[in-house]
Symmetry: C4
């Protein structure tokens, strides 16, 4: 088995609804795949007051990274809504490493935050 | 037992006393509950120069997240004071995942910080 | 033994030399002591191009937090210099939890960063 | 073996292409070497759409820190390109501690983010 963990948790998800200045508000799920094979990443989104959106997917090539924009994820026409607090479970078809970053440019200057996702004990 | 940890620590708590611009200064304890049952979250707040506030609670539904505003937590009429450094111990009645984020808009533009809470070894 | 870890590492230390706006640039080592007894915290600072400053201390009461300003730490008249990259080793006389945060107000608006310190395996 | 881990992962790398205001946009890989001997740090960079850049190196003296600017790393004339998402694998010739921080001054005011790198299980 290659290096990394299969399952990662990001409790604080939020796509800022507005942007100003040069940079657009966004979140990225940054995945590193150190194996030689392509990995499928499955993202489940959990909300405060509605059913989860399960089974959104993206791919990461072998020996590649993919900084996945959460606003681009979708399944059966469903997208993560903007301006709504949510949380994510990120699962790889093989071991991966996951970091989460948000750029908020709601106000004129940008604000950044980043955390390593939390690996679920296996 | 479902996925997660029972007890989490956040040493750097601080509710900024002032806000400016479009967004209000606040902190959130972001909890994900992957189980199928509602979880009760108990928050204890520890201070530099006074007795702890113990036993503030919030709930998180099954397969739901709750981004708990620290300014809303209270017990027996006691709230976490603004503008005072403190620390938190966050305990779930069942396993949870916990991230802490702060938006500080004391000055005209917002600043963001976030950390995964630290899981206490069981 | 009470909850926590004895030794924590913070590789990215930096006290911004200048401030502007309402808030002063600073770093905090935020310590939570869940035990019933006072804990002594020892901070060692390591630099890129000079000898370490070893044995700066602070205390944290039982069931208390202390958000230690790095600019206040000193030993034998030596302080951590401003505007110089450094790293820290933080050791408790009993188990503690440690988070590191920096407020940089070099420019007109403040920027925030925070990480949980890294616990040394025991 | 001295304290620390041999291998660390940083999934979210990005060198902002532009700067404004007093501070230059940059990333730092902050390494602490608690041993008494110099350590060689090897950085591999992985991209979304091109082959990795492998084998960039820097050194950290014994009982010293080195806040390595990613823009200075290079091997055989190859540098990490600016404005391109990437990920890093950081390996020490002996155990080290690693934190990653980014200062983004694309807009007039700076934004900061920092994470502890993720230690690969050994």
């Amino acid at each position: 088995m290659s290096k990394g963990q299969l399952q990662w948790i990001i409790p604080d998800g939020y796509i800022p609804p507005t942007s100003s200045g040069q940079l657009e508000s966004h979140e990225s799920i940054c995945v590193l795949n150190l194996s030689g094979e392509e990995v499928t990443v499955t993202v489940n989104a959990f909300f405060e007051d509605r059913e989860p959106i399960l089974g959104m997917t993206a791919t990461v090539g072998g020996q590649r990274t993919h900084h996945i924009r959460t606003a681009h994820l979708n399944v059966e026409g469903k997208y993560i809504p903007k301006g709504v607090p949510y949380a994510m479970e990120v699962t790889g078809s093989a071991p991966i490493f996951v970091q989460y970053s948000r750029l908020d440019s709601t106000q004129a200057e940008n604000a950044l935050m980043s955390v390593m996702a939390f690996p679920v004990k296996e």
